[in-house]
Symmetry: C2
Subunit: 201 residues, 2 copies
Amino acid sequence: MTPDRVAAVIDFLALADRLKHVERRGRTVGPDGAARQENSAEHCWNVALVAILLHGEVVDPPDLGHVLAMIAAHDLVEVEAGDTFAYDEAHVLTQADRERAAADIVFGGLPPDLGARLRGLWEEFEEGVTPAARFAMACDRAQGFLQGVIGTGHWRHEGIAEAATHRRMNPARQVAPVFEALIATLYERARAGRMFAEPAP
Amino acid sequence: MTPDRVAAVIDFLALADRLKHVERRGRTVGPDGAARQENSAEHCWNVALVAILLHGEVVDPPDLGHVLAMIAAHDLVEVEAGDTFAYDEAHVLTQADRERAAADIVFGGLPPDLGARLRGLWEEFEEGVTPAARFAMACDRAQGFLQGVIGTGHWRHEGIAEAATHRRMNPARQVAPVFEALIATLYERARAGRMFAEPAP
């Protein structure tokens, strides 16, 4: 590895470190019982753990290395673009443009081959077409929903009724029966815990 | 997936969530310029990113899916055993026993096949013999050292002189030339930033 290449990798990793400071809406509860927002770096690790646990449960599973690399890379643009809350419709409308501009900055500093590799993983995830991307998407959404249940429901606090979550969760449920089973159980727990906001009258 | 299996996976993930609250000694600096301790969940994501970047740089690279799964699982026992600071010699002496007892708790709640899979990944990492485990170890140590540089040196604060770090970093440098190159550059930056403690007189 040439000195320039080493330096570019270190600079990229220093930039990527900022993902540890991008807050998501889901919460995690510490040993003292206090809840705080989950950050996107923790989220990426957690999604990887979900993928490892569920990978053996699907028919014709996608290559695990490809899936886990995609999961590790899928939120990197947030170090420039920030997290976009899935239920903030105005923010979601501008998300694609903001994240594409961020990708130019985040991946553009890497040596071209490494930048193309990571950008390709991010684009594949965003397009959501390949079996690997669909599996990763389902893990991502299942983890986000799980975090809502673990964090005892940010939905109520955010004013999100159960019906609003279905549009986001239904595509994940359809990826494989294991996601349907997992997400159905999580909905049961969320309902039992009265974690959703009441529907608007 | 049976309801019992789904419930066991959810309970395991709820336990694993605690890794987001296990603090390491390395620090990360937020957008406000304030440093805080990195946690082990963030660390695991970051090590995965290092592995993805360096995987193509080694001769005969180990299977990426296996490496990334090992990295995602390698610190899970800390949800019971806590993080052991590598330079705390008394704590390191008891680390293996504490972590083995923790593994029984952490992996024991999973369905047997999944528990054996994750425990096997953790044991392979700990034994450090296979090429995949050696690659993962080198990524883990490189990331820890990088975090010291990014966090502008917890070594000085902890009273750790440069010489003490060599015992930990030399095995990583020996895994492949790319680690030697990366770690040598990080040492240059740490020295230039006067990040190590002065040697005892």
